[in-house]
Symmetry: C2
DNA sequence: TGGATATATGGTAAAACGACCAAATGAATT
DNA sequence: AATTCATTTGGTCGTTTTACCATATATCCA
């Protein structure tokens, strides 16, 4: 694989990897209808604030979200909202997979 | 978050995580137009056969691909092809992200 | 200015991951 | 039945991830 192709696929994998954690995926889904501040997200996540902050940082580094500080709070939003629309397809995967496993019983 | 919602989001994150590795993403992309056997994929990957096999196993466990043994060979295919169509959106993310970083210079 | 609030950063330990090697399996060929 | 080919599995080890705690930073309010 050539250098550029390789770089592209690595960048794409990085985006998917960033979304590949339950907490981060949940956060991204919460942002699909608009920005939220950290505290709004944190309200529903049972983890240390520092953990939440680091997850958001991973999403940001991958380019999935952008952040903006306003007053005391930092607001995050999806850079490209389609990233979450895709979830319907991901759901199709797990549904098909689950059905197959159920059929085994 | 309730048990079922939690399980769903974990399964979805698992799918994204499975695709969140350059080698595995590349493999999935190779399968977008139909099945391939392990040896066909391996031909272009510079890694041990056992490594390749384990990557395929991760994709399979996540439900992204299914496998079928025919003769001496094992053929893999995407369970739900849309999983790769989504990549255009992932690309939009990295493009937007890259542009922003370039603007900083 | 001092204190409270919101968020980020550094350190650390446990767990998960990824790559390799060696060995096992399973199907086809001799 | 023995050998070969395609793939998987088990073991090991260095690297990365994740979660927590403690501490820092930045903004607002009194």
């Amino acid at each position: 694989m050539k250098g550029k192709q390789k770089a592209i696929i690595e960048a794409k994998a990085n985006v998917l990897k960033a979304l590949g954690h339950p907490t981060r995926l949940w956060m991204a889904e919460q942002l699909q209808h608009g920005e939220k501040c950290v505290c709004e997200l944190a309200e529903f996540i049972d983890a240390d604030f520092s953990t939440i902050s680091k997850h958001l940082s991973v999403l940001k580094q991958a380019g999935v979200v952008t952040d903006e500080k306003r007053g005391k709070q930092v607001y995050y939003k999806l850079r490209v909202p389609c990233i979450i629309k895709y979830m319907s397809c991901v759901e199709a995967v797990i549904k098909a997979h689950a059905e197959e496993q159920t059929d085994l019983l």
